[in-house]
Structure formats: structure tokens, C-alpha cells
């Protein structure tokens, strides 16, 4: 893919984000690499603590106090976001990369109207006058399906229902016409029926506007609805990446397989619904080697000692697991170093 | 939560307190200052110079380390902090004033705690009209500045050593009542209180044997912070001539006298104030530490 003449919209290479705690420095995002093409939807799935939100915040360089990007790069249109000044970065946030957050209630400033909060970003990035910005906000609210948008524009977040707030949030993120939208668990805090509506809205806007989306969720079912490709994360690392259909049909990583088995489905007897034994290790207690090995039913000796490298299984599927054999691993190294050398 | 089962014996609890204290250097320093203040208060009269003896020959002597700087003193001792307008040794006066200040404030805190805890327990436990009346009074008194209230009461019963303690105690109980009532209302919901009711415990027994012990932590914290307020208030009243009557030295009184002479004698202004500030600072820090220690939500480590 990286051989194509045109640069991908977003290319992340060996990104490593660490958090400094009282007990040392720990990686929250560990050597993550992926490519997101224009107009494509990449789903990121993982349990809480898998580093997916930290990945999103790393891309915007909005890590909370103790977090910092240690190495690797994130190229937006070939420009390394890490190399930008804070001022240039502000031109990227909102304008080129929009973000939707999980909690629609706490994501709005309670003291300003919805319209004002949409307009402030339009005014900054598109240089609109207050009146034009307001018109734009009304238009956007109507686009995301908020009834009587001209009135809603002057209402406060607490006067909106959860679903309405998330619609407004989408309007706010789309306001300056970004090319990339990061959606961090956008439906998790909502009722199931509302979830479906919001998901549908996102999918529709994505198609109409041809916007690329990095869709983060712990819910594989939600990812399956919207994403073209899926990246499975665990312990800050990418376990597996493939097209959605392929991931469901032929999961290659034991973790992906357990995730699929742990998912309730109508076509399976409830007795086969299994939880993954053990729990997600905390940031400070990540095991050496493959982070999943303590919970993996097929762990081998080597899994606790060394970290598996990426193997490519064809059709764009890649997996980081020792079960894929040494030959594949060797091939991966060759490919990876080749890709690194050309930039 | 560990509400019923844990009644840890005093010894490990105390050891844990000191262990926690050792990890907080600022709080440790505050405890040291307070220990020093208490020791000073106890031993004040051991200091050889006489805090009351006037000697106009040695009026307004600056601080000195020379042994003969305090003429007329029975002990050959330098006037470390100088002398006041009446030639009295400032060091001796301040040492005695610390004793007076701590004694008056302790008595005031004791009265405030006793009255406040009792009324708070009753208001919270009995509820109803009694509760409303007590809490109305509490809220009303809380809306007035403490000093104004104290001054109004001094106007009624007059200044004096014991009166000051009474005044401060009788105006300082309100925060205790408010806090304890809140705690009682909270604790009343727990099942072990219902269990005590069910097993036929009398109301009085439940109140004093089961509820009161649960509130010791916040009472202690509030008593500590109130102590600081009492020391300031005693000094303020004495400064205004409404507190400890002369010639008995008090930190506020010494500062009040200093107003007459301080264009010539900075030491009379500086030393008593520094002592006051050190003690109050130490009490505030120790109080914050105690609050963190008793409130698991604050530190999360208990």
C-alpha cells in the first residue's frame, strides 16, 4: 500500500506513547503502526485499558499530564504531526482531524450554548463572522437531524437528551470540514436504540462527505456495522489487523478468537458464550513478551519471553502472534524494514 | 465498608498514624512546632526572667545576646527579644502568653466540642422540631463573623481570662453541631443501627455507644482547625482590650501595647506575631493532615 505514489491520509509508524507514574514509565501505546486511506473507516477494537483512547489522544497530541509520545511518527498527508509546532498543531486539531468523544454530557462546556460551542471552532478555522458562524451551526445541527435547529442552537447542553447531545457533538466535530474523524466510543454511553441511530448517522455522513474515520469501540458488533478494516488492540499493542469480513470469518489471533467467542450472538447457543479468563493487565503490570500470553489458551514458552513480530497472512491481514511461525516472522521483518527505509 | 467489624486496637492505629506522618515532612514539622509550643506552655514559668516585673530603667531595650542587657533581672540573662515600654522582658512575657493562649483556647475548644457535639447528636438523632430549631440557630450564627459574635457576647459577660474561654466556646460550637448532625444522619441509615434497635438497645445507648464513636474522626479534625481559630480569636479579643485583661500577658495584648511604641521598637510587633503565625500555621497544616488521614476518599490509601 505504501508503495502507491499518492500518500495515504494517515500513516502511523511504530508509535509509542508512555505514561510516567510514581512507579516508573509504562507504554500505553506500544509500537502501533497502521495506514488509513482517504474515505476509509478503520475500526479499533479492544477492552478498556487496551490503549485505544490513548492512541486517539496521541494523534491529536492531547495526552493528559503524565503521558507523552516517546517514539514513532504519525504522518498526516505525509507531514509528521510530532514535528509540528503547537501553533501548527492547533491548525490540525478540529480543522483536519475532528474528534468525537464518549461522554456527550461531560464533553460540552455546561455554561455555553450548543450553538456557541459549534460556532467557536467554525470561527477559528473558517474565519467566519459570528453571524455566519451561527448560521453554519444551525445548518450543521439540521444536518445531524436535530429538530428545530435554530432554537436548539441557543439551548444549553443540559437541555439536550443524551442522543441529541451526541448528534450535536458530531455536528461540532464536522463543523470545520475535517478529512479525518476520530470517534472514541461514540455510542457507548447511549441507549441501544439511540446507539443504532447515531451509528447510522455517522455512516451516512461518512459516505456523503467521503471523510475518513478512525472508529474506536470495545464492541465488535458496532465496529462490524461501520468499519472497512479492523485493528484489534490489547495491552497497548496491535494483535491483529484485517478487513472486517475476514476478521469475523478467519480470526488469526487467539485474542481475536476469544473476543468473538465472548460476543453474544443469536445464532449460537448461550452455553458457548464464554468470557475470556483473567483480566486486562493494568498499565503497570503488563507481562513481558506477548501481553496476552497469561490469558491465552494456546500460549507457548516463547510467548512469555519475546514479543512476536507482525506476520502478513495475505489480503491485508496481519497478526502479531508466535503461532504464525518463524518463516512468516522473518518475512515481516524484511517488509517492515523495507517500508521504514523508503520514507 | 469497615463500619461494624473493625475496631482496631489503639496501638497499631497509633503506629500507623506515625508511619503516615513520617511520609509527610511538612505535617511532621507542624507536629514538631506544636509539640514545642505545648512544651513551652507547660514550662513557661521555668524561664528565669519575670514577665511582670517592670523596670523603667530598661524600657524598650532592643533584643540582645549580651548577658547584662536586662538590668535588674534576678537571673543573669540576656533579653533575647528585648523589653517593652515598661521594661518587662519580652521573651518571658511571650512564653507566658503562649501558655495563656493555649490554655484559653483549649478550654474554649473543649466547651465548643462538648456543646456542639451534644447538640449535633441530639439534632441528628431526635430530628423533628428540635432539629429545625437547633439548625436554624446554627445557620444564623454561621452567617455572622465569628469575631463579631464573640464581641457581642463579651459585651454581655465582660472581659476576663475565663470569660474569654467561655465566650469563644459558646460561639464556636456551631461548626461541631453542623458536622456531627450530618454524620449522625449519615450513620443512621446503616444497617447496624437498625440491628441495634431491633435487639432492643435504648436510644441513648445507640447514640453514645454506636453513633458517637463513628464521628470521632471528624470531631478531632474540626477541633484541631477550631483550635487555630480560637487562638486567633483570643488574640484578636485581647488586642481589642476585650480579652485577657492586663497585666497578664497575652499575644494579642502585647501587640496592642506595641501600637504605642512601635515606631521605636519593632521587636514588640515582630516576635509575638511570628509566634502566633507559627502556631496557627502548624495547626492548619496538622489539621489538613488529620483530615486526609481520617478521610479515605481524600487519599484513597486507607
Amino acid at each position: 500500500m505504501s508503495d502507491a505514489a499518492k500518500k495515504p491520509l494517515l500513516e502511523v509508524r511504530n508509535l509509542r506513547t508512555v505514561i510516567d507514574t510514581a512507579h516508573g514509565t509504562f507504554p500505553a501505546v506500544d509500537e502501533v503502526s497502521f495506514v488509513l486511506e482517504r474515505g476509509a473507516v478503520l475500526g479499533v477494537v479492544g477492552e478498556s485499558g487496551s490503549g485505544k483512547s490513548m492512541l486517539a489522544l496521541s494523534l491529536l497530541r492531547l495526552l493528559p499530564g503524565k503521558g507523552r509520545i516517546e517514539s514513532g511518527e504519525a504522518l498526516l498527508d505525509g507531514r509528521n504531526l510530532r514535528a509540528l509546532s503547537e501553533r501548527e498543531m492547533r491548525g490540525v486539531r478540529g480543522r483536519r482531524i475532528g474528534m468525537i468523544f464518549q461522554e456527550p454530557l461531560t464533553s460540552f462546556d455546561p455554561l455555553y450554548t450548543i450553538g456557541d460551542q459549534i460556532a467557536e471552532s467554525v470561527r477559528k478555522h473558517l474565519g467566519l463572522k459570528p453571524r455566519q458562524a451561527r448560521e453554519k451551526a444551525v445548518e450543521l445541527l439540521s444536518t445531524v437531524g436535530i429538530p428545530r435547529p435554530d432554537l436548539a442552537c441557543d439551548e444549553y447542553p443540559f437541555q439536550f437528551s443524551g442522543g441529541m447531545r451526541q448528534r450535536a457533538m458530531i455536528a461540532m466535530a464536522l463543523a470545520p470540514d475535517p478529512e479525518l474523524l476520530i470517534a472514541d466510543e461514540p455510542t457507548t454511553a447511549l441507549d441501544v436504540t439511540i446507539q443504532a441511530q447515531i451509528l447510522e448517522l455517522l455512516a451516512k455522513l461518512q459516505r456523503e462527505r467521503g471523510i475518513a474515520v478512525l472508529f474506536i469501540s470495545h464492541n465488535l458488533g458496532v465496529i462490524a456495522e461501520i468499519a472497512d478494516e479492523v485493528m484489534v488492540m490489547y495491552g497497548g499493542q496491535v494483535m491483529e489487523r484485517s478487513e472486517v469480513v475476514r476478521l469475523f470469518d478467519a480470526p488469526a489471533h487467539p485474542y481475536t478468537q476469544s473476543l468473538l467467542e465472548a460476543r453474544p450472538a443469536l445464532d449460537r447457543a448461550p452455553s458457548r458464550l464464554r468470557a475470556i479468563p483473567g483480566q486486562v493487565p493494568s498499565l503497570e503490570s503488563r507481562p513481558a513478551g506477548c501481553p496476552f500470553h497469561p490469558r491465552c489458551g494456546r500460549a507457548m514458552d516463547i510467548c512469555s519471553r519475546a514479543r512476536p513480530s507482525r506476520s502478513f497472512l495475505g489480503s491485508g491481514q496481519e497478526v502479531a502472534c508466535w503461532l504464525q511461525g518463524a518463516g512468516n516472522a522473518f518475512q515481516t521483518h524484511a517488509r517492515a524494514s523495507g517500508a521504514g527505509g523508503e520514507s | 465498608m469497615a463500619l461494624i467489624d473493625t475496631k482496631p486496637t489503639a496501638a497499631p492505629k497509633r503506629r500507623r498514624y506515625f508511619a503516615t506522618l513520617l511520609r509527610h515532612p511538612l505535617a511532621l514539622a507542624a507536629h514538631a512546632v506544636l509539640a514545642l509550643a505545648v512544651a513551652t506552655a507547660v514550662l513557661a514559668s521555668v524561664y528565669p526572667a519575670d514577665p511582670l516585673k517592670q523596670n523603667l530603667m530598661s524600657s524598650l531595650m532592643p533584643p540582645s545576646l549580651k548577658v547584662d542587657s536586662l538590668p535588674g533581672s534576678q537571673a543573669a540573662l540576656p533579653a533575647f527579644m528585648g523589653t517593652d515600654a515598661l521594661g518587662r522582658d519580652l521573651m518571658a512575657r511571650i512564653l507566658l502568653a503562649i501558655r495563656i493562649s493555649l490554655a484559653v483556647s483549649s478550654l474554649a475548644v473543649f466547651i465548643a466540642t462538648a456543646v456542639g457535639v451534644f447538640l449535633g447528636l441530639v439534632a441528628g438523632y431526635v430530628g423533628g422540631v428540635l432539629d429545625s430549631v437547633i439548625m436554624r440557630i446554627v445557620d444564623a450564627l454561621l452567617s455572622l463573623p465569628f469575631v463579631v459574635l464573640a464581641i457581642a457576647v463579651v459585651a454581655a459577660i465582660g472581659p476576663g481570662l475565663v470569660n474569654v474561654a467561655l465566650v469563644l466556646g459558646l460561639t464556636g460550637w456551631v461548626t461541631f453541631a453542623k458536622l456531627v448532625r450530618g454524620e449522625v444522619l449519615r450513620i443512621k441509615q446503616y444497617s447496624f443501627i437498625e440491628a441495634a434497635h431491633a435487639t432492643g438497645c435504648s436510644g441513648k445507648r445507640i447514640l453514645f455507644r454506636h453513633i458517637l464513636p463513628q464521628t470521632v474522626g471528624i470531631i478531632l479534625v474540626n477541633a484541631t482547625l477550631t483550635m487555630g481559630q480560637m487562638i486567633i480569636s483570643e488574640a484578636t479579643l485581647s488586642f481589642l482590650g476585650l480579652g485577657v485583661p492586663p497585666p497578664t500577658p497575652s499575644l494579642g495584648g502585647i501587640l496592642s501595647d506595641a501600637q504605642q511604641t512601635f515606631f521605636a521598637a519593632w521587636w514588640i510587633v515582630v516576635f509575638p506575631g511570628l509566634v502566633l503565625m507559627a502556631i496557627i500555621l502548624a495547626i492548619n497544616i496538622a489539621g489538613d493532615f488529620l483530615r486526609d488521614y481520617f478521610d479515605p476518599a481524600e487519599e484513597g490509601a486507607l
Partner: protein, 306 residues
């Protein structure tokens, strides 16, 4: 909003009644005020005359009824020392106290909020540590000591400001700073804590994710949210302002209600004590009602729900 306001006014009224009742009770239960009021050489007749003049010959309950009836018509009686109406004495001195209180409050707020913000934004850095230490010290220094030190430095050592008196702007400087230092400590502390809490909230990250300048993040969004606890603090602080002004007015010879109250207490001038206490309570309650209105301006949730 109107109903909310009426309810607050009702509560304030009850509070004032409770306060004057408590003061009345304390004054009347603590022995015979007339005996202390009258000069030691007064004859029995003179004492009886005084007693009748102040109504102390009636039973307590009746006197309490009379007292409330008089107070409700703002009749506080005449001062024992000056024989002037206590009400007039207090009202004459009220403007001076208000001037002092609001100047101190303004200084403390204007300096305290930016300092608290600075400390929060630089959390853990030198500026923060300095702000925390200074505010701890400020809260541990008795107001009258601050006043004495200021007089010593700016009135005696470098005599650029009048050490006492009333009338010009220069006279206002030292008294108001004395009170402001203590206030400042509290405001810095609360602003810092509340700012730290607001900066942790998700919406701050959202504002940043929109690419807005840190200036907008801090001043438009974080500060306005952080100011809500600061307003609450100001209500509490007004008590300290008035408490401090009693002392500061006495130190600087500032002709306000506080100085009057201290003098009246010293001279056991009950009518003046009661009148002064009444107006101090009235002022503090009015101030806190004003702040309730300010809440509505800052927070739409208050405005729309009430």
C-alpha cells in the same frame, strides 16, 4: 427566579431574627446589665431610673416581645455613652465600612483569581509552590498583625502612607490591603483547587481538540466554570472581611461600624452593640443574596431551573 429570591429573603429575615434574639438573650441572661451600665457611684434611684428607661424592670418574656417590636421598626434605642440614637450612629458609620470591605474584596479578587489560575496551570512548578505557601502563610497571619506590620513598614520605616485616619484615597490603602491579604490567601486556594478540578474535566480536552487557543480554553471555558466555587467562597469570605474590618478599623482609626462595635462592647453600650450586629448581619445576608444573582449570570442551569 422571583420565587427563589423571595424564599431566600424569607430565610434571611428568619436568620436576622434568630441573631438578634440570641444577642438579646445573651445580654439579658448574663446578669444585670443596668448594674454594670450605671457608674459605680450611682445611687439606687438613678439605677432604678435607668432600669425603667431601658425597660429592664419588666419580666424577660415581655421585654423580649418589646425588643422584637422595637427592632422590627428599626428602633434600637439610644446609645448609653453618647445618648444619640444607636441607629443613627451605625448608619453614619456604615459607608466607611462598606468602602473598606468592597475595596478589600476587590483587591483580593482581582489579584487572587489570576494567581490561583497561574498556580493551577503551573501545577507542581515553582509558581504553584510559591502560591500555595504564600496562601498558607496568609491564612495563618492574624489580620491585626498584618495591619501592624504594614503600618510599621509603610507608615514608619518608609513613611509614604498615613498610618491612620480617614478621608483620602491614601488613607484607604493600608487598611484595605490588611484585610485583602487574608482574603487573597483564601481566594488563591479556592481558585487553584477549583481550576485544577475543571481542567481535569473532559470538556476541556474537547475544546482543545477543536484546535482552540489555550487562551480560550483557560479564560473562556475553564475560568468561568471554576468561578462557581469561587463565588461560594466569596459569600464565606464576606464574613471574614467584616470580622477583619472590626479589628482593622480599630487599628487604623477608621470610623466604621466595626470600630463602633468594638468600642461599644468595651463600654457595654448594648443598644449600639445590637444595632451594629443587626446591620452587619443584614449586610452579609444582602451580599450573599447578591451573589446568588451572580450565580444565575454565570451558570445557565441556575438561571433556567429556578
Amino acid at each position: 427566579m422571583l420565587r427563589f429570591f423571595l424564599r431566600r429573603a424569607m430565610e434571611s429575615l428568619i436568620t436576622i431574627i434568630v441573631i438578634v434574639s440570641v444577642v438579646f438573650l445573651v445580654l439579658n441572661l448574663s446578669g444585670d446589665p443596668i448594674r454594670m451600665m450605671a457608674s459605680p457611684t450611682a445611687s439606687a434611684e438613678e439605677v432604678a431610673e435607668l432600669r425603667a428607661a431601658f425597660g429592664f424592670d419588666k419580666p424577660l418574656v415581655l421585654r423580649y416581645g418589646d425588643f422584637l417590636a422595637q427592632i422590627s421598626r428599626l428602633r434600637f434605642g439610644d446609645s448609653i455613652s453618647t445618648r444619640q440614637p444607636a441607629l443613627r450612629m451605625v448608619l453614619q458609620r456604615l459607608p466607611a465600612t462598606l468602602l473598606l470591605a468592597f475595596t478589600a474584596l476587590a483587591i483580593a479578587t482581582i489579584l487572587g483569581i489570576p494567581l490561583g489560575m497561574l498556580a493551577a496551570v503551573r501545577r507542581g512548578k515553582a509558581a504553584d509552590t510559591a502560591a500555595v505557601l504564600v496562601s498558607m502563610m496568609g491564612q495563618a497571619m492574624p489580620v491585626f498583625w498584618i495591619a501592624l506590620l504594614l503600618i510599621f513598614v509603610f507608615g514608619v520605616m518608609i513613611p509614604i502612607l498615613p498610618p491612620s485616619g480617614y478621608g483620602t484615597f491614601a488613607h484607604l490603602v493600608l487598611p484595605s490591603i490588611s484585610i485583602a491579604i487574608f482574603l487573597l490567601a483564601g481566594i488563591v486556594r479556592v481558585t487553584r483547587a477549583s481550576m485544577l478540578e475543571v481542567l481535569q474535566q473532559p470538556f476541556v480536552t474537547v475544546v482543545r481538540s477543536k484546535g482552540l487557543e489555550e487562551r480560550i480554553v483557560l479564560f473562556k471555558h475553564a475560568l468561568r466554570n471554576a468561578s462557581i466555587p469561587v463565588l461560594t467562597q466569596l459569600t464565606l469570605q464576606m464574613r471574614f472581611v467584616i470580622g477583619g474590618s472590626v479589628v482593622v478599623e480599630s487599628v487604623f482609626g477608621w470610623p466604621g461600624v466595626g470600630q463602633l462595635l468594638a468600642q461599644a462592647a468595651y463600654g457595654r453600650d448594648y443598644p449600639v452593640v445590637i444595632a451594629a450586629t443587626f446591620f452587619i448581619a443584614l449586610f452579609i445576608l444582602a451580599f450573599s443574596m447578591m451573589l446568588d444573582l451572580a450565580y444565575g449570570l454565570v451558570d445557565p442551569r441556575v438561571r433556567i431551573w429556578h
